[in-house]
Amino acid sequence: MLAIALRRVGQAAMSALGGGVVVFVLLIAAPGDPARRILNIRGIEEPDSSEIAAVRAELGLDQPIPVRFLDWFLGLFRGDLGLSWRTGNPVASEFASRLPATVILTVAALLIAVGLALALGILAGWRPRGWADHLSRALSTVALAFPTYLIGVLLLDLIAVRLGWGRVIADGTWKTVFLPAFTLALASAAVWSRVLRSALLDLDAAGFLRVSTARGASALRNMFVHRLPNALPPFLTVVGLGAATLLGGAPIVETVFSWPGVGKHTIEAITARDMPVVTAFTMMAVLAYVGMSLVVDLLIMAVDPRQRQSRTRKAVRT
C-alpha cells in the first residue's frame, strides 16, 4: 500500500517535471529578447550590446539551455519565478499579493461544485427522469451553452444590483466569494453531476444491490452504503481532472467579478506577451493539477481496497 502510494507520488513528480519541460519550452520559444525588454522597462530605450550582455548574465540567459531549465525549475520551489517582462518586478512578488484571492476563489468553487454535483448527481441517479435529473440536465446544457462571463454578468445584475445581495466589486475574501465561486462552479458541477449520475446508474445492474435489496435493505441504505461509495472513483477522477479547469476558468470570472487574483493578472500578461508571468501561472496550474490528481488517486485508493493491491488477483472463476 505504502509502496504503491510512493510510486504514485513518484509518477506525480515525473508529470510535474514533464509539465515543467513543456512550459519551459513555451518560455524560451517566446519571441523577443527578454534582456532588451527588461532594459526598456528600466528606461534604457536603445541598449548597447554590453548592457544587454550584462542583463543576459543577470538573468542567466547566457547559460546552456539545460542549465537554464534546471535553474528555472528549481527556482519554482524557491519561489523565484523570474522577472516580469512588462514591469521588471519579480513575478513572485506580483503573484504573492494576488495568489490568496485566486486560491480562495478556486477552493470555494471546488467546494460548491462538489457539493452541488453530489446533490444533483444523487438526486438524478436516485430517480432517473425525475425532476432532479431534468434539472441537472437542463443545468448542464445551460452551463455548457452559456459562457461563464454571460452567466456572471447576469448573476451580478440580478443578485447584486437588483436584489442587493452580495457585492459587485468583490474584495478577494471569503465574505464575497460566493457569487464568483458559484459562477465558476456551475459548469463543472453540471458535468460532474452527470458523471456521478451515470456512475450510479451503471451500478443498477450490480449483483450486490439486488442481493442487499433481497435481504431487506432500503433504497436509502443502498444508496449511501453501496452505490455512492462504488460510484465515487469515477466521480473523484473527473473532479481531480476538472479542478484544473476551475483554475483555467478563473481569469474570466476574475475579470467579470473584479476579483483581485492572478488569473486576471495573467490575461493582462498574455496580451502584453509577458511570458514569465504566463508561464508562472501555467506552472502553478500544472502543479495544482498534478497535486490534485495525486490526492484523488490516493483518495480512491483509500476508498477502493482493490486499488491497494499491487496486482489485482484474478478472481477465481472460470
Binding site: G207, R306, A315, V316
Partner: protein, 488 residues
C-alpha cells in the same frame, strides 16, 4: 399456518413490454424440503424468484397467489415486504463475487443481513457461521475483501448471510453456475444444510436432482413436469425434461484411431511469468504431441496453466525453454524472431471462449469468414468472397443466415459457429480452442462439439481447453489433466 413453506397458485407474470414470462404456474415447497426448478435459459426461473421477493420491475402485471408460510407476499405493502425479505425469505444469488460489494469486507457483507433490519449482529455470528460452513480462520478472513476470497468460499459467506435469520424459505438462483463442478457440489451441500426450506433454481438438471427432493421443470414460462427428483430422473415424461437430461449427460461420440503423423509437438517446454516482481513458473517441462485428425482435451483447475499451454502451442507466446514443433519444424528459431514461423499463413487457427468478441463487430460476416482466405493470398472479388462465406456457413447449418449481416444480430451460439467457420475455411493444420463452449447453452455446446469432431475427422489436429470435462470426454480422443503447470 399451512404445512408448505411456499405455495404458488396459478401465478402469471407479464412484463411491461407485454411479454408473458410466467403463465399459470402452481407448485409448493413443503416445510423443510428442497425443491428444484429446472429449465432452459429464459424459461422464467429468475422471474419466479423475483416475483416471490416482490422485486419485479415496476409495471409488471402479476396475477395468482404467492404465500410464504401462509403470508400473502404478493399483496403485502412495501414496508412489510422489506421486513420479510431476509427474515422470512432468504436469497442466494448467482455470482458470489457479484453479490458482494467489492469495497467492503466480507464481514460487512454478512453483518449487513442484520444491519438492513436495524439489528445489531450477534458478537460472533460471522465467525460461527463461517466455521460451521468450514471456512478456516474466519476472524481474519472475514476482514478481507471479496476479491481476496475464492468463489466457493465466498458462496459460503453469502450462504451465511442469506440464512442469518433462519428464513422459512431460501431462494437460490443458479448459486453454482459461476463455480467449478466440484466446488459447486460442495456449496450446494452446505447450502442445503444451512437452510430450512430451499427453492433451488438451475438449468443443470443432474446437479439439481442430487440436492433436492422434488423437481419442477419449466418451459417457456409454464410448468411441464413436476415430481420426486429420482422418479423424474429415471422416467422423464415430457420431451423438455428428456432433452434437459440429455444435455446435462452428453453421450460419447465416435473416436478416430491415432495413427496419423504428428501435427504439433511440445518438447520440454517451460514458461514463467513475472508476478508481483518475482518470476513464477506457469508451465513446467511440458511434453505433448497432437496428431493429425486428433482432438486433445486439456482440463484442470483454474490457474493451472491451460490457457498458457494453448498459447505456447499455437505460437501466440514464446516459451522460455524447450521447443514447439509444427510438422517437425520449430516455431521459434533465432532469439530475435518476433513472430512464429508457421508452415503457412493461417496454419494454426484459434477459437475463443467469447464468441462475441472473436468477430469484428463492424464487419459483415462474409468479410470475417473469408479473411483467412484473403490473407493466404487468394485474390477474391467481393461477390466471390460472399459465395465462399455462404457455402462455408451452409456446412455448419447456418445456411439460412445472410452473409451481409453483422455479428451483433446473431445469437451467441451462432457467433461461435461463425468463428469456427472462420478458423477452418483456409484448411488449418491445427485448431486451438480455449473454452469454446463455456458461454453457450447446452444445446449450442453440443452442436459445437460435434462440429469440432467432424473437423478432426477431416484431418485437422485440435486442442481444446475446457472446464467441462464431461463434455470434453464425449468428443476428445484424449483428455489430459494439468496441475500447477504440469501435464499429466
Amino acid at each position: 399456518m399451512s404445512d408448505s413453506a411456499l405455495r404458488i397458485e396459478s401465478l402469471s407474470v407479464t412484463y411491461p413490454n407485454g411479454f408473458e414470462a410466467l403463465s399459470d404456474v402452481s407448485f409448493s415447497v413443503p416445510v423443510d424440503a428442497a425443491v428444484g426448478i429446472v429449465g432452459a435459459s429464459g424459461c422464467g426461473k429468475s422471474t419466479l424468484i423475483r416475483a416471490i421477493l416482490g422485486l419485479l420491475p415496476e409495471g409488471c402485471h402479476v396475477s395468482g397467489e404467492i404465500t410464504v408460510g401462509g403470508h400473502d407476499v404478493l399483496h403485502a405493502d412495501h414496508a412489510i415486504m422489506r421486513a420479510w425479505r431476509g427474515r422470512l425469505i432468504g436469497y442466494v444469488g448467482q455470482d458470489p463475487f457479484g453479490a458482494c460489494d467489492p469495497l467492503r469486507s466480507v464481514r460487512h457483507h454478512i453483518e449487513e443481513a442484520w444491519y438492513v433490519h436495524r439489528l445489531r449482529p450477534p458478537a460472533d455470528a460471522v465467525s460461527e457461521g463461517l466455521t460451521s460452513l468450514g471456512v478456516a480462520d474466519p476472524a481474519r478472513r472475514a476482514s478481507q475483501r471479496p476479491h481476496q476470497w475464492s468463489g466457493g468460499m465466498l458462496q459460503r459467506a453469502t450462504t451465511v448471510a442469506a440464512t442469518a435469520h433462519r428464513p422459512l424459505i431460501t431462494l437460490a438462483d443458479e448459486p453454482t453456475s459461476a463455480l467449478d463442478t466440484d466446488l459447486g457440489d460442495g456449496s450446494l451441500i452446505l447450502l442445503r444444510k444451512s437452510c430450512r426450506s430451499l427453492l433451488l433454481v438451475s438449468h443443470d438438471l443432474a446437479s439439481v436432482a442430487r440436492h433436492t427432493d422434488q423437481l419442477v421443470v419449466f418451459d417457456r414460462g409454464r410448468v411441464v413436469e413436476a415430481g420426486q427428483a429420482q422418479a423424474l430422473l429415471s422416467s422423464p415424461r415430457s420431451t423438455v425434461t428428456r432433452s434437459l437430461l440429455e444435455s446435462s449427460n452428453p453421450q460419447p461420440l465416435r473416436r478416430s484411431p491415432v495413427s496419423a503423423p504428428a501435427a504439433v509437438e511440445l518438447r520440454s517446454v517451460s514458461k514463467e511469468y513475472a508476478v508481483a516482481g518475482h518470476r513464477t513458473p506457469v508451465i513446467v517441462d511440458a511434453d505433448l504431441t497432437i496428431h493429425r485428425g486428433e482432438i486433445v482435451g486439456v482440463v484442470g483447475p483454474s490457474g493451472s496453466g491451460k490457457s498458457t499451454l494453448l498459447r505456447l502451442l499455437s505460437g501466440q507466446e514464446r516459451p522460455d525453454g524447450g521447443d514447439v514443433l509444427t510438422e517437425g519444424e520449430p516455431l521459434w528459431r533465432g532469439p530475435r524472431q518476433r513472430s512464429p514461423r508457421v508452415p503457412r499463413r493461417g496454419w494454426i487457427m484459434p477459437v475463443f471462449q467469447d464468441p462475441v468478441t472473436s468477430l469484428d463487430p463492424r464487419w459483415p460476416l462474409w468479410r470475417t469468414i473469408t479473411e483467412p482466405l484473403v490473407l493466404r493470398g487468394g485474390r477474391l472479388s467481393r461477390s466471390q468472397r460472399r459465395q465462399h462465406a455462404a457455402a462455408a456457413l451452409e456446412k455448419v447449418g447456418l445456411g439460412h443466415i445472410n452473409v451481409t449481416r453483422t455479428p451483433g444480430s446473431l445469437s451467441v451460439g451462432e457467433c461461435q459457429r461463425v468463428a469456427i467457420v472462420r478458423a477452418v475455411i483456409a484448411n488449418p493444420g491445427l485448431i486451438v480452442a480455449d473454452e469454446p463452449t463455456a458461454s453457450l447453452d447446452v444445446e449450442a455446446a453440443a452442436n459445437i462439439a460435434s462440429f469440432l469432431r467432424a473437423l478432426a475427422d477431416e484431418g485437422a489436429a485440435v486442442l481444446v481447453v475446457s472446464h467441462d470435462e464431461q463434455r470434453l470426454r464425449s468428443y476428445a480422443d484424449r483428455v489430459l489433466r494439468m496441475r500447477e503447470g504440469k501435464v499429466t
